[in-house]
């Protein structure tokens, strides 16, 4: 038994098995060796079997959701059983080459043939062969490759770090937790774990040296501990602890289906922050009464061309429909020079967090912005959709954005395309200038939503990703609270409302303070909703 310590970023306890995710490159040399052929053939047979099992798993998973695509994997299985391939491999083995090289060289001969066909489809199949070859070689060389899209039951994903593209196809049904060597509280791993409501521990030193695939793990996402191959006593203790917590959580979830009123009878709307339509199930399960922040960035990252209007429309519409009649606040694109987006030609800036980002970028990239507005407006015909502009500093930005919105509305009217004529528009209040001037800005919008993370970093002029400045991350200090109060009061003076959609909204210590300041809506990671509602009811 070993206990590893890291940073707890998502609460809960999970007991499962390590699936070590490494992106190690496969290296093969053409050396001959003296390993008996019978041994090589035995290893080959074993590796083929294992690779086939992996492909079958992918096939079975895909068949349920995408049967057309799954057919390809049926062909992959046949490829591994192909007699022509095994004959070829035998030829190389008989010449004395090592097994990995024999396999690689044989595959490459077939790949060459397919590539030379004058047929796009067949050329694609050549790429498939590279994939199969890669899986097979990993099995031969015992380089584990964990396909995150089809995990065995009770998996705890162990990795150096996880990026959005690693987890895009994550098998959400079988993952019980994350443990990573890198990353902090705002890392992708942390955000994803929160969204899935599973424990995560990040920043574990020498993690990959201490855990191997298949190790039994206990992840304590509250304490930040990872227990490797626990002894019976420890395991039993955690099993009963987990049972207790699960029961508590079940009770809370049951109660989370009801609205939350304070003791004085004020209803606080408790809504979810979501990052893609995939988060909707979880949000509904946890008792979200709508979406207070729909981050749309996921549509724009990891691609070479911007998403089209129809693609965006579908992604917005499906969420609006699922939550109808509850509100879904869609935030327009919120990115800047800290992200690499090839099609935007973002200029390298000395200080991207104070640079051309969010609404500032959208007002420059007019077509990009109008396409998104069109998609949001079209989706508004299918539910209760609201628009929110991020990073507003001055009223002129709201006026300009609203002018563009009106142009797009007019275009849609001309084309007789349906949308919600009364769609509400709000802004994120996350720059001190906006909070300080909230009483003027409120006349141009229907609501405010305070982004406490950015508001805090801009108030204290301290980059919140800079670990050396963590002492200045003080969202509950007087300066930030004063700005929140100004914002809330300004909205109430015009009969409008203010929400909070930053980390603070889901923080048990902060909720009483925010409610006391008059905040009307709290938007948070879905997993935090049940507890938040309980806290509100106690106030």
């Amino acid at each position: 038994m070993k206990i590893l310590i890291g940073v707890p970023v998502s609460k809960g306890i999970s007991i499962g098995f390590a699936r070590v995710y490494v992106k190690e490159k496969v290296k093969v040399t053409d050396a001959k060796d003296s390993v008996p052929i019978s041994e090589k053939k035995e290893l080959l047979a074993k590796s083929l079997k294992k690779t086939k099992e992996e492909i079958k798993l992918t096939y079975e998973n895909l068949k349920k959701t995408n049967p057309k695509e799954a057919e390809i994997f049926e062909a992959h299985l046949l490829i591994l059983e192909d007699p022509a391939l095994s004959e070829k491999i035998d030829e190389y083995l008989n010449k004395g080459y090592n097994l990995a090289y024999s396999v690689k060289a044989s595959f490459e001969e077939f790949i060459e043939t397919l590539k030379n066909l004058q047929n796009e489809y067949m050329k694609e199949r050549a790429n498939d062969l590279y994939d199969i070859l890669d899986s097979l070689l990993r099995n031969i060389l015992h380089i584990e490759k964990i396909n995150l899209s089809s995990l065995p039951k009770d998996s705890i994903v162990v990795a150096e770090d996880l990026t959005p593209s690693d987890t895009a196809a994550l098998d959400r049904n079988n993952v019980l937790g994350f443990v990573t060597e890198k990353g902090g509280p705002t890392s992708h791993t942390a955000i994803l774990a929160e969204a899935l409501n599973i424990p995560a521990v990040v920043g574990v030193n020498n993690l990959l040296q201490n855990i191997k695939n298949g190790d039994e793990l206990i992840v304590d996402g509250t304490k930040g501990e990872v227990i490797v191959n626990p002894d019976n006593e420890t395991k039993e203790r955690y099993v009963s602890l987990k049972k207790e917590k699960d029961e508590q959580e079940k009770l809370l979830k049951e109660k989370a289906k009801e609205f939350a009123y304070t003791k004085s009878g004020k209803r606080i709307e408790v809504v979810a922050n979501i990052g893609s339509p995939k988060d909707v199930d979880k949000a509904l399960e946890m008792g979200a009464e709508g979406v207070g922040l729909y981050r749309t960035e996921f549509l724009f990252l990891d691609r070479t061309v911007p998403p089209g209007e129809d693609e965006q429309f579908e992604a917005y519409k499906v969420v609006a429909e699922r939550f109808k009649p509850h509100p879904v606040i869609i935030r327009t694109l919120d990115i800047g020079g800290d992200k690499q987006i090839p099609y935007l030609n973002l200029e390298h800036e000395l200080n991207p967090f104070l640079g051309v980002r969010a609404i500032r970028l959208c007002l420059k990239e007019k077509e990009l912005f109008k396409t998104q507005l069109r998609a949001i407006l079209r989706a508004s015909a299918y539910g209760n959709v609201l628009i929110m502009y991020p990073m507003i500093a001055i009223k002129d930005e709201i006026i300009e954005a609203n002018n563009m919105l009106n142009e797009v509305k007019e275009e849609l009217r001309m084309k007789k395309i349906q949308f919600d004529e009364n769609i509400k528009v709000g802004i994120m209040v996350e720059i001190p200038s906006a909070a300080l001037n909230a009483d003027e800005l409120i006349d141009y919008v229907d609501f405010f939503s305070i982004g406490t993370n950015d508001l805090t970093q801009y108030t204290f002029a301290a980059d919140r990703t800079n670990e050396g400045l963590s002492y200045l991350y003080r969202p509950l200090d007087a300066p930030v609270l004063k700005l929140i109060k100004l914002t809330v009061d300004a909205s109430h003076s015009r009969g409008k409302w203010t929400g909070v959609c930053g980390e603070l909204a889901g923080d048990p210590d902060a909720i009483p303070v925010l409610v006391d300041l008059g905040v009307d809506e709290l938007s948070m990671s879905p997993s935090k909703i049940p507890e938040a509602k309980e806290i509100i009811r106690s106030l």
């Binding site: 049926e74 062909a75 046949l78 192909d82 022509a84 043939t113 047929n119």
Partner: protein
């Protein structure tokens, strides 16, 4: 030994699914089954071989079957081709 010439009529030709079906079918028989297209001869029991023919709609293939169950094998393959490998078009 039996030989018969066929024309591929289904829309996508001998692509992944039709090729898979053909190979799976061929593997049910003991006979040696070869397919020839434009002078290239491959085993019908090898998916890589069948794919490498690049047989599109309208291509002509010659199937040669040799073995104890050759008649049944050829008949089954003939049905498969005539049914467009189960494709609707």
């Amino acid at each position: 030994m039996l030989t018969k010439t066929f024309t591929i009529k289904n829309k996508v030709g001998l692509h992944a699914r039709p090729a898979s079906v053909l190979v799976q079918t061929a593997n049910k028989f003991k006979s040696d089954i070869k397919i020839e297209k434009d002078g290239r001869i491959v085993s019908a029991k090898s998916i890589l071989g069948v794919l490498s023919l690049g047989a599109e709609k309208g291509s002509t293939i010659v199937v040669t079957v040799d073995g104890v169950d050759e008649e049944e094998a050829l008949k089954t393959i003939e049905d498969l081709v005539n049914n467009n490998f189960g494709d609707p078009e």
